[in-house]
Symmetry: C2
Subunit: 380 residues, 2 copies
Amino acid sequence: MTITTPPQRLLCGPGPSNVSPGALAAMQQPMLGHLDPDMHDILLEVVDLLRDAYRARGAGLVLPLQATGTSGMETGLAHLLEPGDVAIVASCGFFGRRIAEIARRYGADVVEVEAPFGEVVSNERLLDALDRYPHARLMAVVHAETSTGVRHPLAELGAALRDREGETLLFADCVTSLGGVELDFDGFGIDYAYSCTQKCLGAPPGMSPLAVSERAMERVRARKIPVPYSLDLQLLEGFWVKRPVVYHHTAPILHIYALREVLREIALEGLENRWERHSNAGAYLQIELLERGLELLADPDYQLAPLTAVRIPDGVDGKRVQTRLLREHGIEIGGGLGPGAPPIWRLGLMGTNATIATADQLLGALDEVLADEPVLASAA
Amino acid sequence: MTITTPPQRLLCGPGPSNVSPGALAAMQQPMLGHLDPDMHDILLEVVDLLRDAYRARGAGLVLPLQATGTSGMETGLAHLLEPGDVAIVASCGFFGRRIAEIARRYGADVVEVEAPFGEVVSNERLLDALDRYPHARLMAVVHAETSTGVRHPLAELGAALRDREGETLLFADCVTSLGGVELDFDGFGIDYAYSCTQKCLGAPPGMSPLAVSERAMERVRARKIPVPYSLDLQLLEGFWVKRPVVYHHTAPILHIYALREVLREIALEGLENRWERHSNAGAYLQIELLERGLELLADPDYQLAPLTAVRIPDGVDGKRVQTRLLREHGIEIGGGLGPGAPPIWRLGLMGTNATIATADQLLGALDEVLADEPVLASAA
């Protein structure tokens, strides 16, 4: 069947979240050419605002990639790893595993430090791995593991690495944290971070904001083996930052407008206020879920706010619940992601949806649907 | 200075062109999640409409990449070349050279058959190169060379390759031709074609429609050396086409809406009518320019309609003319692209701008600005 107008959805899954109305309006503004001098000013403003959102004033390079978050992950691995390099990867969910998989594509010798879905790979275990591989090129963690709702203690890992004064770069997936969870690129000592636009930032999907430390950029400049052309950070720097601008690709102009708009909104709201808003909404949802007797997947000490993974109760048809929420309530939630994922729902309160009101709307719909599940109805 | 609302522009450069109003409106539609079952139907509709636009009903795979045209170029080279493979590349402008450069990044042995800017690399010379390298993996041409306004005789090249019954794949840059210049993926015998959304299609920049022949897909499936993960055609096929859908990346949903809308517009207008509209507008502009005593760069036998490169008359400050058109008339045109480019302006009439009325508006502004150029004013 051909759908002409897509139905309204409240997007409470692992992302995308609903787009900020300001960002949607920005996409209706007159489109400039990518080499227009007025466009250059907009590019520089986006980079400037992104430095604030990442707290990456001291980074060597900050820009949004003209592709989605997966390309942001790949860009970092492609630039920082050469065949035979050791990469220590914390793997406790879908995205940690993906980092390991892509690192292997680039010829790295991957040391995967694993933990079950829902747990964090402790910094102690990662540092033990570093003791065994002291010349590791990079250590990769997922700051906010979208597949499980677990937050990695990134500040502490950065501090420990800094104490060691080694050359191992700290690589962080910030796809579900940027703009919604405390993140301080400079302060934590991150060397490469990437995110997306469609989760806590509240823009549509299509770009991947990156931050690269100066010492990581030195590695990039020194490398001999070429990287994929369309992800080449030095060429991208020529377009986004340097003057005169150098043509590399035709930038996704309307997405850049949308990204600029949400970054301005974040600056107005205040980054810490925004973290707090996400934190409050997530904590409220989690308490309410627990009060209903539902179990959360994540270790409570490392529970993310924007993303909550809920174990599907025994005997409940998780897929049916998801479908009914979508079809009867217009609410999207996620299921488990990838092979080996436990039976879970993933509930997201991100961007404009990180509010108590949205949490209540989601909980109300969930109550209605769960009341019809035979197992839960008979238990009640 | 911070620009809040970008100024209105008539985009008559080499692209982007002005976005179709229907595509802009489509981007305001409710955003679905990338894994929403209703989204799957939209993805399949886009693929179906793209097959028509490319005339690629028989292709092994057709989909739009979640990145810009440069990534479309790279995706093809990354999948079809392995280190040591011979690639014959027709190089008579910026984009032919870029194909050669990227092919080298992937370890290919590149045979670059060159012609000066404004000329076409003849099929005869390409076939001579194939005689010397009969096991070449691919032969690459730019169907519509955006840097010079030259159209490659692609149908004839495809026919000649088919007559030889060899295994060399035909690779075609269709960035400035798809939707604006006669193109028949199946009929011409193309094996890999890529384009963009922001030129003759009239959508915003951000995606790259691809078409891959079945025999090229066989090569893709047989290759051993991994390709960049975010460009991996087999993984992308799992998301776009196969059922059940497999998560690969969060698709740029609003861009997909826009692309669907312009593809529907093309189906309504009729592909041949649209080619004719571009052809008429371009021919009109070119005749008018010649009547003003201006010289065109391209060999007249191979002049593209959507893109016209005009030689900057001796003594005229080309950059000043461009700036005045932009600042006084709100009209963007392009200059020469890349090292070695001759002094030219590049005028585009693409997508919604491929009309006599737009040509007249552009010519009127150009007349006004050129009348003030000292050299031309004194000659008059």
